[in-house]
Structure formats: C-alpha cells, structure tokens
Amino acid sequence: MVPFAGWDMPVEYDGIREEHIAVRTHAGIFDVSHMGQIEVEGPGSLTFLQRAVTNDVSKIEVGGAQYSLLLNDEAGAIDDLFVYRLGHDRYLVITNAGNHMADLARLGQIARDFDVYVRDASSNYAMLAVQGPNARRILENTLHIDLPARMKVGARKVGRRPAIICGTGYTGEDGVELLIDPEIAPAIWTELVDAGVVPCGLGARDTLRLEVCFHLHGNDLTEETDPISAGLGWACVESTGFIGADKVAVFRANGTDEKLAPFLIEGAGIPRPGNPVMIGDEAVGEVTSGTYSPSLEKGIGMAYLRADLAEPGTELEIDVRGKRRAARVSSKPLYKKEK
C-alpha cells in the first residue's frame, strides 16, 4: 500500500504485469473510490459548466459523458475531468483525488454568478472501474443489470441500492465504472472477483493509461501546462466562452513552444519521469510519464519536447540516470488493439 492524495492505495495485488494483461485480454477491477464526485444542479447548470470547463457541455445528451478540463485564469490545467449528464439540469463531475478540493473551490467560486448548486458528493460514492474485453459480460451476468453503452451513463440498482453506472474508464479497454453505495462496495468487489475479475492496483492503472496516451494530471498535465501544449485541444471549444478560452485560442492559432509527444524506446532501457530528453548535446525536453509497457514489452513514455520535434519519427535519446537510451517519437496511441 502507498499513500496517494490522502488515501492508502494498493500499487499491485499479484503483480503489475499480470494485472495489466488481465485488463487487456479478460477483465480487471480497480478500486478508484479516491476519485472525487461533484454534483451540479439547477437551471443555470449548462451555462455554468460552459463557463467553468473547456469542452462543449451542450453536446452532452441526458445520459451522456464527456472529457473536459478545468483551467485557471492563465489557461493552466487545474484538473482533467469527466462530466456526466444525469438529468436535464443535473450533472456529475468526476475529479482526480489530488485536485478534488482545488476543483471544488474553483467551481464553487465560479458558481456564484450562476443559478446553480454545486456540492461535494464524494462521500456518497465508492467507485469501482471494471475494465477489459470480458468486463461487461461478467458484470451483466453477476449483477443482472443492463449496462450503458460506451461514454453513456445511467441510474441503476446495484445490491438493491441506487447506483450510477458509466460506460467509461481510463485503460483503453471497453468497460464501465460503478458509482455505488460505499456500504455495499466490498461485497460487490468480492462478487466480481469470485466471478473471475482480476483485482488491479495503481501500478497497472498507470501502465494501461500510458500505453494509450491518456494524461496523468500532475505528470503530463499541470497548472503550468496549457491544453494545446498537452495535445488536448480536442477537448477545448473556445466558442463556449470558458474561462481561459481567449488564451487557448491564441495558443491554438500561434502554436506553442513545447508539445507533449509519446515515444517508444528502441532498444533496452525504461524511461522514468524527470529523465532529460536529448538530441546530441542539446536538452530538448523532459519525460513526464515513463514506464515498462507490459503489452509492447519495451520502455514507453511521454515527454514535453520542443514543438518542431514532437512529430512521429523524430529520433531522440532519453538520459536514464546517465545512460543514453535511443527512442523515437510515436503516433498516438502507443498500443493499438489487434482487431
């Protein structure tokens, strides 16, 4: 167990590699109860969220989900979030544990100008992510419920208690996330594990998300990075008038000095966060996420690079504790599922 944003979190149960492969080929379950939930309710919900977060919230139908960013006034990313639309004027925002209190403060402050009610709902929910090609089948057979489609959300009953089920995850696999009554969470966990779902820890969550180039806030995305440098321009719709939209528009039009790029190690070596990226004697960037990819069986990572170098094919060297390791900028995602 390791401390993580005030929670004691398991890094691994039986081993990161086995857990990772289970999610890619079968089904795994993650306790992500550390993630925060914020309810947004009231007639001003949509106009409030359009101002507060970067994506076009009007595009979310009731029962839909969307990835978005919460920016500071300088267009730095306070957090990356999922927004679920539960009802006409009712939304649920899923936050990262480490940023939850900052998100809550920021959203509460913006909400003063809108006819909207923002409240912390984190203690109402335990959150279990069940991910992998067999996740849905096992869940349906075990819990006897029909599941919302990918990127859809719906209210269901789990263990005879109200629950919210989301066709989302952060692994690059199909699957769902269950927001359930914390009292019944241990029993649901046990039931799913007994049905063959493999318990997975933070370690596998990190390798899975990095293989498909999903950002980890705090590493690949911080208050000092803007969405365009981070490659998240697709999650920003400036015409909605979100806070920071004017700055994002300038970054989008003029380009940024640096860009986040995924890379593969060509031979031996495992890159780690903080490793300098070199071309000859010139430092051209820094690794923000790096690990061993259990699917590709080689070192992978993401790094902020001088923008002109952040194109697939660029040859780099990663300085891994004094040893130069050959690497090449790749396209996204680093791991693609075989069809």
């Binding site: 890094v11 990161i16 590699r17 370690g203 690990t291 061993y292 504790r321």
Partner: protein
C-alpha cells in the same frame, strides 16, 4: 519461487545481495527478499566485463514495472562474467534468484571481505 528461501551455502549482505564464494571467485545476485519487494523484474543490464565492483557500492540496477533498485556488491573484484540470459528473460531473477537468476561473476580482489558478510541464519534473522 513463491516461498522465501536463503540457501546455507551463500553469504549475505544487508542490502539484500548474496555471494557464492568459490575459491578466488564469487557469483553475485539478489536475495529472495529483494526480488519479492521489487516485484516482477522486467529489466537488468550488467556492468562491463573487466570493470571493477566495490564492496557496499552499487554496480547495476534491476527494474520492475514500478521501480528501479540498485544492486550493491557484497564483495569487491573484477567482473569476469555477466548473466546474458537475463536480457531476454529477466523474470529468472524472480523465479530462481540463486541459480538461473544469478547476475555477475567476479574475481575477488580481497577474499577476506567475505568474512564480514552474514550467513543464512543471520540474514534471515535480520529480516524479522
């Protein structure tokens, strides 16, 4: 191997490394406890043959998915062999840390250094 084991014929360093002393040479590796703490090893790269390792100093790294760890030399000497099979199968360090999972062989520069190492019983006691 799933169960902890500390063979009687080895000498142990408190940084969780072992040495099998054979006359003027020694085979080095990491203990069951070390590989269990580290998790599944996915990468090992040995030092150059002919280079020197120094007692109590790191001479290589072993990496699991989650972490990198220094490997400390229990005794000093010149590297005369590196276990090349580990570059394709580093998991041998977990499966069999004392036989197929050995890391390097050295020619001892000061055989008396081995006297400062622990025997299996003392090392096992140090882990309690």
């Amino acid at each position: 191997m799933a169960e902890a084991s500390y063979p009687e014929d080895l000498k142990y360093h408190p940084e969780h490394d072992w040495a099998r002393i054979d006359g003027g040479e020694a085979t080095l590796g990491i203990t069951w406890y070390a590989q269990d703490s580290l998790g599944e090893v996915v990468f090992f790269e040995g030092p150059e043959i002919g280079s020197e390792v120094t007692k109590d100093q790191p001479y290589a790294e072993v990496e699991s998915v989650k972490a990198v760890s220094d490997v400390v030399a229990p005794v000093s000497g010149e590297v005369i062999a590196v276990n090349d099979s580990l570059s394709d199968a580093p998991e041998a360090i977990n499966a069999d840390p004392y036989e197929t999972g050995w890391l390097i062989k050295i020619r001892l520069s000061d055989p008396s250094e081995a006297d400062s190492l622990m025997d299996a019983a003392a090392y096992a006691a140090s882990l309690e």
